[in-house]
């Protein structure tokens, strides 16, 4: 019993330990770090990444990769700014349409990947430039969103006492994580995703719907990327075609740090949740310490991703021998 527990959940526990250690170290190093307000801000600040990372987790679990998420998010933000501000759409309709576009775009990518057998990284790399370019077509520069619905939504949320409010963005994030866990571990689609990532040939021989699962996974990821864009407009009240540059790496990093194996078939949505919190904590530390160059954030997230991949390799090698 003990051994099974240790071998299966070891990466997840390592991630949890790193998060606790990081937070404790930051708490010891900086005054006022260990407070509910800091944690709440972290959730608010990283909610969009968290949602995008859940979608990315499914894609990686299926043995694929999606490099277009940052660009899809950027497109969503300018699309919202344009149709709400320029065309006068009502905000909820615009949000639904935006998520719909994300799902459609993801479906298209999944179809091209599956039907034409073109490597996922190439299709989604082209998708990344396509979506980023379209974002610039919609608006070459940042646009402010002025809408009563946005103002109203900004004030709503779940009160946590002491004047603390869990706003809509982080609330959606938590719901998406919970839903992702249910879909991954409790539905037929989720099991198909794990099977597809574990061994595509076996999955096909077992009669699982490989094509539909793959298209579904990319559609889910595209939808999550668009939803991440919606959340980012909630937090910043603006659309920006340059937003989300490098987001794909953060999302991949969050999934991998959380124990999802890049070759697919193994991982946890909850691990990705912890991974996002680790990346968020590092960013918060950099924000707290004003003297550090923000360029360090890029280097740190790259290095952390590398470190966790190496850790996984080590664990895999040890469990084999």
């Amino acid at each position: 019993m003990n051994r099974i527990f240790a071998s299966r959940l070891l990466p997840l526990m390592a991630t949890g330990l790193v998060l606790v250690a990081l937070f404790a170290a930051a708490g010891a190093g900086y005054e006022n770090f260990l407070s509910a307000r800091v944690v709440l801000n972290l959730f608010k600040d990283r909610a969009f990444l968290g949602v995008v990372a859940v979608g990315m987790t499914f894609v990686i679990l299926s043995g694929g990769i999606d490099l277009s998420v940052g660009a899809v998010m950027a497109f969503t933000t300018v699309f919202l700014a344009k149709v709400i501000g320029g065309l006068g759409w009502s905000a909820p309709v615009a949000m639904l349409a935006a998520v719909g576009i994300g799902v459609g775009f993801g479906m298209f990518q999944g179809w091209v990947i599956h039907f034409f057998r073109i490597p996922a990284f190439l299709v989604t790399l082209a998708g990344m430039f396509l979506a980023r370019g379209m974002a610039f077509v919609v608006s070459p520069r940042s646009v402010e969103i002025r809408s009563a619905f946005y103002d109203d939504l900004g004030e709503r949320g779940l009160p946590l006492g002491e004047g603390l409010l869990l706003t809509v963005g982080p609330l959606v994030y938590l719901v998406v994580v919970a839903a992702g866990m249910v879909v991954a571990h409790g539905t037929r689609f989720g099991r198909n995703v794990y099977a597809l990532g574990g061994n595509e040939a076996s999955a096909a021989l077992m009669g699982l719907p490989v094509g539909a699962t793959r298209v579904g996974v990319y559609a889910l990821c595209g939808g999550c990327a668009a939803l991440g864009g919606v959340i980012s407009t909630l937090a910043l009240s603006s659309g920006d075609p340059t937003r989300g540059t490098g987001l794909e790496l953060d999302a991949i990093a969050a999934a991998v740090i959380g124990g999802t194996v890049l070759t697919g078939g193994r991982g946890w949505v909850f691990g990705t949740f912890l991974g996002v919190l680790i990346l968020g904590t590092i960013k918060t530390i950099l924000d707290f310490d004003g003297s550090l160059d923000p360029a360090w954030l890029r280097i740190a997230s790259g290095g952390l991703l590398l470190g966790f991949i190496l850790l996984q390799k080590l664990i895999a090698r040890r469990s084999v021998s």
Binding site: F116, R117, L122, L130, V137, G246, A295, R298, I309
Partner: protein, 329 residues
């Protein structure tokens, strides 16, 4: 028709179509004149700008893709080497030392990619994606996220000077392409690269040091990206850590794929990649002439690259044609 079997035909046809379109759409497109001891004209510009970035990056990328990998970090490595060269000349170093430092660091970063892929066993996309983000961070860190202007005649000459009437980058890059092609095809190195991409395990069992081959191609890709970054900085006498090389990895992949090197590895055509780079640069210029904003330009490029990949797709080939696998040049 044997001629249509060559992978070079289709990019050449596409290039000719684009050139004819331009000749009709913008008069004076083919006008070339001799002034101050060098050639001037739109076609010369295509060669010059095409050589400076896409062709150079495609040289390294061709070999990487031939081994079955990919290098997403070339744009960021360009930024690093451009920044290093600019900072070196500002610190009073001679041009050769500055360029050497930039190229050295770029090659080192390429080798780091190679070690992560060949020795540690990471997927090429992931290792080079890490380098893409961390490398851009490194360039920003070195320069404090500021543009680094410099005034150094000999460094600027590298991008804007001329040799025998031709722009220096054209001579430099075509020379590098010819030497690379000659070395790879006259020695067994090219064969080793293709064998590694075709079937790594079989190649290893046959006695090829596949790890060394992969290490070398990523190092070479880093070197090419480094040279491109130096030329890009030299061209405007300033290194911009945020802009140099941004989104250029797609340009390189475009040139390679359009030139007939399959993404699955195992075959490569350097001549095809050179033509592919010229095709890309002509397309870029055409878009510019038709008043398409530079930030939007990736859209048609992405569409073309997807279309080319669809043409390469076995499924589509099986349905619409009976052409056999293309023969590598």
């Amino acid at each position: 028709m044997k001629v249509f079997r060559s992978t070079l035909v289709w990019p050449l046809v596409a290039l000719v179509v684009l050139l004819v379109f331009n000749a009709v759409a913008s008069p004076g497109f083919f006008h070339v004149e001799w002034k101050d001891g060098r050639l001037f004209g739109t076609v010369v510009d295509i060669f010059n700008q095409g050589a400076r970035v896409p062709m150079l990056l495609a040289l390294g990328m061709t070999l990487v893709i031939a081994t079955g990998g990919v290098d997403l970090s070339v744009g960021s490595i360009m930024a690093v080497s451009g920044a290093v060269a600019a900072m070196q000349v500002n610190a009073g170093a001679p041009m050769v030392q500055a360029v050497g430092a930039g190229l050295g660091l770029a090659t080192l970063l390429g080798l780091v990619n190679g070690v992560l892929i060949a020795r540690v066993g990471l997927q090429p996309i992931i290792a080079t994606l890490v380098m893409m983000v961390a490398g851009r961070g490194l360039a920003m860190l070195l320069t404090g996220s500021q543009m680094v202007p410099f005034a150094n005649r000999s460094l600027t000459w590298l991008a804007n000077g001329s040799v025998g009437g031709l722009p220096v980058p054209v001579v430099l890059v075509l020379g590098l392409a010819v030497v690379t092609g000659w070395v790879l095809r006259r020695t067994a190195a090219g064969l080793f690269i293709e064998a590694t991409g075709d079937n790594e395990k079989a190649s290893r069992l046959a006695g090829i040091q596949t790890g060394g081959v992969r290490l070398a191609v990523y190092g070479f890709s880093g070197f090419c990206a480094g040279l491109s970054g130096v030329l890009e900085a030299a061209n405007i006498s300033a290194a911009d850590p945020a802009r140099i090389g941004d989104t250029r990895e797609l340009d390189a992949i475009f040139a390679v794929v359009a030139g007939g090197t399959a993404l699955t590895g195992g075959r490569f055509s350097l001549a095809g990649s050179v033509v592919g780079a010229l095709l890309l640069q002509t397309l870029t210029l055409t878009l510019y002439n038709q008043n398409v904003a530079p930030a939007v330009a990736p859209v048609p490029k992405a569409v073309v690259i997807l279309a080319v990949c669809l043409l390469h797709s076995p499924r589509l080939r099986a349905r619409f044609g009976k052409r056999t696998q293309p023969v590598a040049a």
